[in-house]
Amino acid sequence: MRLLGLIARRLIWVPLTLLGLVVLVFMVSHVVPSDPARILAGENATTAQLVALRHEYGFDRPLPVQLLRYIVAVIHGNMGISLYTETPVAGEIWRRLPATMELAFYSMLVAVGLGVPLGVAAALNRNSWFDHVLRVVTVSGLAIAAFWLAILLQLLFSMWLGVTPVQGRISDFGPSGVTGFYTIDAALSGDWSMEIDVLRHLALPVATLSFPAMATIVRFTRAGVIGTLGSFFVDYQRAMGIPRRVTVWRYVLRSALTGTLTQIGLVFGNLLAGAVVVEAVFDWPGLGQFAVNSILQSDYNAILGFTIYVGVMFVAVNLLIDIGQVVLDPRGR
């Protein structure tokens, strides 16, 4: 019941947080003295054309009215029309969502799948050569800019070794599957050559995105495990003759992961931000690329839509993290 109460309390804040986000981003995006009607109409637009467009899209209304209309529309699932593509923003986001989610999912999988064991290994072999090498790697992971790493990987694996494609999500247009995750859709269709092609396309973007995420997870897991290893309960278990392997992986890790879990929430946010750059470099047809396009075209509605999406994802992931922490650490209940 306490867990349900916690979830309920967190959920109450979700709409308020999102409302604040929408108001903030709406106001910031409208401070820029740009005329969306001119963007929409193009360079050769006539005055009549501009007036008609301003009226059609409500740009001639006072800003508070525009904000209110926008909030009401968003509540109804309508994020407006993209000024550049002239299609519904919600549809654009929905169409691109699987590409970004697939990229984010595999990046997190790699980051957590490698980061946690490596962090534990570094903690257990503290100050060994392995720990020192891993420290250099993780510091590099945190320091290297994503776009630079992406280009380096392209040069090495695509241009010199020729083992991965330079860009894209698939060699042709994607499978007409149900999930939008090409790895799953290709598997469901039984087309294994397509599956390999999809994985080859995934390799470099996932490596680029997961590297800094993994570095963070390694650092926090290592610190958490080292801290927990000095606890009395570990000494007690050792005295009781419980095998080290069991102590570390069943008890120490559970306690140490609470800090890592918090970081995973933050890493996910960074991962979404990083996806904007990585998707642009690898021409990954996801939301990151959509965001870049929107910013370049001063497409207010699209920028707002993307920001709301990121906000929702961030809030949702952090809600899950909060719940996960309570599950892992009974003290939180």
């Binding site: 963007i39 193009g42 360079e43 054309q49 280009i151 392209q154």
Partner: protein, 541 residues
């Protein structure tokens, strides 16, 4: 004067500007007295089995919509050029206006009525292209008020275009408009029955046409994903027929990152890049064994907009001082490594109407100081509004700022994104003193660079310089109502000279087009309007 009809024919497969000249055969040609050259492709229906596979182009723009009537830019022109046809079409360099869906045009003596007779052409669903489709297409443009609407709105009123019969359509203009033929290539003809069937709530089928096509173009849409691009298969029944070699499939991908486009071409994932590849990358690719570069003069001039009404820039001597204070050679040869060509006036030199002997300004600080000494009003700090994200614009601003400092004029540079600058254009109070930017070929007619952006009637719209000159207006107005190119040409030449004499703008260079292609590519026919993305001529060796 009624329009005489000329027909000339070009087969397909291109003239091989790069990589050979296979497949081109001209069946006959007579120049039109109208000045608009016409080509007919009837008789060139050489449909041989010559498919050469799939051709992938990496483009710097995404294909966010396929609706041909809501966009009007070069970046996304591939979907319009390859999926749709218009009554007339630009090809080659210098651009030639060819009869396309139209067999012939009759122009009334008062130049108000244009009657087109259509060829036997089919849409991709097999239905014939009719006059009703042409009428629907122009009405759709006028109703949507988007894309190329601005080109037609001042001369074509809704409801005035009539289908005389299934093959004859008549446009009735509100006033003589010599540029009408030049802007018609942007009036893409859609299958009216198909679009009507998908209309919802008075949207003219916009919701559907954004992601589908209803055209008669050389290629038929196969796949479309706005986040990726589109692919299209050859339309074997295209009215223009096909040459001995052609592409089976074309694919256009929106690849935003320059490095990814370049690496993809070098690796063989792409066969061509768009025409906006930075020159340093072009220079680097020249040495690559599997890449060939096509370099052609383009029709895009760089210049500074000068606010001609705001003191002290309302004084011609002040404007001349600015023009003498800019280091043209330093900018073109040092900063841009000679990748562009000096253009003394605003009309690109390859375009007719550009005076061949035009003497532009040179970098001469003594003359600048002499002109400055004649300025009657007081000087002040000038504001140069550079375009953020366009390094050349910023470099030009800094170079002018430096030159002005040497003659005792101070200038500040304000760098802002294009949408912000654009929003202020045409606003006499908000627009900056000087804006370094480009004028592209929206239509291949001298009016695009003269009357449209300097005639006083365009102030607040195309004329963002607030330039006003009675003789210039007279010339450009008169040129719009004449039909023959030979009659119009001297008017534009004089107009161009006036702009230079009055220093209405600071004119710098004409852009070159650099197209990067895979070595196997043949038959490219570059046209400044559309770059080299009209794929019906190209094939792979």
């Amino acid at each position: 004067m009624g329009g005489r009809i000329a027909t000339s024919c070009v087969g397909a497969a291109g003239d091989g500007m790069i990589g050979g000249s296979d497949g081109r055969f001209v069946l006959g040609r007579r120049e039109l007295a109208l000045g608009a050259a016409t080509l007919s492709l009837a008789g060139a229906r050489t449909a041989l089995a010559g498919g050469t596979g799939k051709f992938v182009t990496a483009n710097n723009n995404s294909y966010d919509t396929l609706d041909p009537h809501v966009v009007f830019d070069i970046g996304r022109i591939a979907s319009r050029l390859n999926l749709y046809d218009a009554l007339v079409r630009w090809t080659d360099d210098p651009p030639k206006l060819n009869m396309w869906l139209a067999e012939k045009v009759d122009i009334s003596p008062d130049a108000l009525s244009y009657t087109f007779t259509l060829k036997d052409a089919k849409f991709h669903d097999g239905s014939p292209v009719t006059a009703d489709d042409v009428v629907y297409s122009i009405e759709r443009i006028l109703a949507l008020k988007k894309g190329a609407y601005g080109l037609f709105s001042s001369v074509v009123n809704p409801g005035t275009t009539k289908a005389i019969d299934a093959k004859t359509v008549r446009f009735t203009l509100t006033k003589p408009y010599a540029v009408f033929m030049a802007v018609l290539p942007e009036m893409w003809v859609v299958n009216s029955k198909m679009v009507r069937a998908h209309e919802k709530g008075g949207d003219w089928g916009g919701g559907w046409l954004a992601s589908h096509e209803a055209g008669s173009g050389s290629f038929r849409l196969a796949h479309y994903d706005p986040a990726v691009g589109f692919s299209a298969n050859r339309f074997a029944d295209h009215f223009a027929g096909w040459g001995p070699k052609y592409l089976d499939q074309v694919e256009f991908l929106g690849i935003l990152e320059v490095a990814s486009r370049v690496l993809g071409l070098e690796k063989g994932e792409f066969d061509a890049l768009d025409g906006y590849t930075p020159y340093d990358q072009i220079r680097r690719m020249r040495g690559k064994p599997n890449v060939q570069i096509l370099a052609k003069p383009s029709l895009r001039t760089m210049y500074f907009i000068i606010h001609n009404r705001r003191p002290p820039l309302d004084d011609v001597n002040m404007r001349r001082a600015l023009c003498y204070a800019f280091d043209y050679d330093g900018f073109i040869n040092n900063l841009l490594d000679g990748s562009v060509a000096r253009n003394a006036g605003i009309i690109p030199d390859p375009m007719w109407g550009a005076p061949k002997d035009l003497q532009g300004y040179t970098y001469d600080l003594d003359k600048a100081k002499a002109a400055l000494a004649k300025v009657k009003g007081s000087l002040r700090t000038l504001t140069i509004n550079a375009l953020g994200g366009y390094p050349q614009s910023g470099q030009a601003a800094e170079l002018l700022q430096s030159g002005l400092a040497k003659i005792g004029v101070t200038a500040t540079i304000l760098s802002q994104p294009w949408p912000v600058v654009d929003a202020k254009l045409g606003n006499e109070k908000l627009s900056a003193d000087l804006i370094p930017l480009w004028r592209s070929a929206y239509f291949a007619d001298p009016d695009n660079w003269t009357g449209y952006i300097y005639n006083s009637k365009q102030i607040g719209r195309g004329n963002s310089s607030f330039f006003s000159n009675a003789r210039f207006d007279e010339l450009t107005d008169k040129a719009l109502v004449l039909v023959k190119q030979e009659d119009r040409q001297p008017l534009y030449e004089e107009a161009s000279r006036i702009l230079v004499d009055q220093a209405a703008g600071l004119f710098i260079y004409n852009t070159n087009y650099y197209g990067a292609f895979d070595k196997r590519v043949r038959g490219v026919r570059y046209c400044p309007i559309g770059d080299a993305q009209d794929m019906r001529w190209q094939w792979l060796a």
